[in-house]
């Protein structure tokens, strides 16, 4: 236990890396997920099929397999992400984020879709009946309600993502879980160290869940 406190900078840098993985992949999967959801609910049958296939396949594949594909498989095709290194970002970090993004975006897409499905058809019909244009129907009536319904499932997705960053451990990234292993290897007294690192995750999860609660309360309306 003292071992962790005397090396607290290592603990903090590991947590920073975990948070970094989380934030970058969260932004990435929001973008990709929104795109997938748009394709899926859009009117073009082929795009919708393509998005459905991607979502079904990736959702049902373990994250670890996706990591193996991105980190060990893609280099076999000569895709090494050299250009990322030139920007001063570790390509390992980038590839871990890519794997997390590919995986999480499918859950984001499903969350958005369930949000859109939660808006009753009558809402759009009523909006058109009072003469709103397509843009008006979307921005004034449908999307605000859809976003509101998206908050709880989206929070679950991001909490899962936060915990999933630990998979990067298996691929040589020194985030919180890897750091825990490092400390337990040295000390031999595992339980307190495990609890300290677990507490870190609990705090982060609580922050995400608290934020989602606030957002939900602020946006909630009496129906």
């Amino acid at each position: 236990m003292e071992l962790v406190f005397s090396n607290f900078d290592l603990y903090l840098s590991a947590c920073r890396l975990t948070i970094g993985l989380f934030l970058v992949s969260a932004v990435g999967s929001l973008v990709l997920g929104t795109l997938l959801a748009a394709m899926r609910v859009g009117p073009i049958a082929f795009m919708s099929k393509a998005a459905t296939v991607y979502i079904t396949v990736v959702r049902n594949t373990p994250l670890l397999i996706i990591f193996v594909f991105v980190i060990i498989g893609l280099p076999k095709l000569g895709i090494l992400f050299r250009s990322v290194e030139e920007l001063g970002i570790s390509s390992f970090f980038f590839r871990a984020c890519l794997a997390l993004t590919l995986y999480t975006s499918t859950f984001v897409a499903e969350a958005i879709r369930s949000g859109i499905n939660a808006v009753p058809l009558g809402q759009a019909e009523a909006a058109r009946a009072i003469g709103l244009t397509f843009g008006g129907t979307m921005t004034q009536v449908v999307l605000p309600q859809a976003f509101r319904a998206t908050v709880p499932p989206m929070a679950s997705v991001f909490i899962a993502l936060l915990k999933n960053t630990s998979v990067a451990y298996a691929f040589g990234i020194l985030e919180a879980t890897a750091r825990m292993k490092y400390f337990t290897n040295i000390s031999g007294n595992d339980l307190p160290i495990f609890l300290i690192f677990a507490a870190g995750y609990v705090v982060l999860v609580e922050i995400v869940s608290f934020g989602a609660n606030r957002l939900e309360r602020r946006w909630s309306v009496a129906r």
Binding site: N60, K76, L77, A124, A160, A170, S209
Partner: protein, 290 residues
């Protein structure tokens, strides 16, 4: 023609023409990407027979299916069964009349829902496993998955029990049943029906998470896959085959869950529990997460 989406009107002739153009464009883009991937694989010699050979050799197929898939299924099976037990105890505990019991159950459930499964596995394996006489990696995976999935199921159980109409327990108390009898004879049997599809969906999560055993050298499909690609240096091919196996088993499970849902519960949404907020009666629509 009936309208099917809140997002857009039924298309007229001009819109339909525009849709056709978009279809062609997306077709070209997506097929182009696929073709690029295939060409790239071909250029790097990834279609060479040597690299695919293990998946056509009976010995390796047996290793994949028996040592791999079967072990993975066994791990998932044990952890789901144990998780159901864990979930029942803690889910009922969270509804206890005694504040102390409620509090203990609540904190245990919240803790294991917030801690990454992989971290639990590593802690169990390197703390109490590894080395002679320690816990087997197989059981480390099972225990870690039990604690995590059990905590998720505890929430599902609680929501399921709350979803049983109030009149049921009131009637049971009225005919003089005791608290335990109301729970075991009236509420739980009805709740199980509501929860069954959610439990089966949780099997998908458990099955996917068994692959995390890779980090602690636990047996299973991913482990066998690793052995194959270390021998043959055919990472890409192994990933494709292993992923296909996982996806097909999961699709079968999802199909069973939907069937059970339709058979026993009706067309309502599968009971799912959000990670945030203490939603009552499973109001959350969370798409499983993991």
């Amino acid at each position: 023609m009936s309208q099917t989406s809140v997002l857009f009107d039924v298309a007229g002739p001009r819109t339909r023409a525009r849709y056709r153009i978009y279809t062609v464009i997306s077709l070209v883009v997506i097929l182009g990407l696929a073709a690029l991937l295939v060409l790239r694989m071909a250029a790097r010699g990834q279609f060479a027979y040597d690299l695919w050979e293990p998946f056509l050799t009976p010995d390796y197929i047996r290793a994949l299916l028996v040592d791999g898939l079967l072990t993975t299924l066994r791990m998932a099976f044990f952890s789901v069964i144990l998780a159901v037990v864990f979930g029942t105890i803690f889910g009922v505990g969270k509804l206890s009349d005694h504040a102390s019991v409620r509090w203990v159950c609540w904190s245990v459930v919240e803790f294991f829902r917030a801690v990454p499964v992989l971290m639990l596995m590593i802690f169990l394996y390197f703390g109490y496993g590894a080395g002679p006489g320690g816990l087997d990696a197989f059981w480390c995976v099972v225990i870690a998955l039990t604690l995590y999935n059990g905590s998720v199921l505890a929430e599902v159980f609680r929501a399921g029990i709350l979803a049983v109409p109030r009149g049921q327990s009131e009637a049971a108390y009225a005919i003089g049943l005791r608290k335990t009898q109301v729970m075991t004879q009236i509420l739980l049997p009805q709740a199980v029906k509501i929860m069954l599809p959610a439990i089966i969906s949780q099997c998908v999560v458990a099955l996917k998470d068994t692959s995390l055993g890779y980090a602690i050298t636990a047996p299973g499909l991913t482990f066998v896959g690793k052995q194959i690609y270390t021998d043959f240096q055919n990472q890409l091919q192994t990933v494709i085959v292993v992923a296909a196996l996982y996806v097909s088993v999961n699709l079968v499970l999802t199909w069973i869950a939907t069937w059970v849902q339709r058979k026993f519960v009706g067309e309502k949404k599968i009971l799912e529990v959000s990670m945030v907020a203490e939603t009552d009666a499973g109001a959350g629509l969370a798409p499983g997460g993991r």
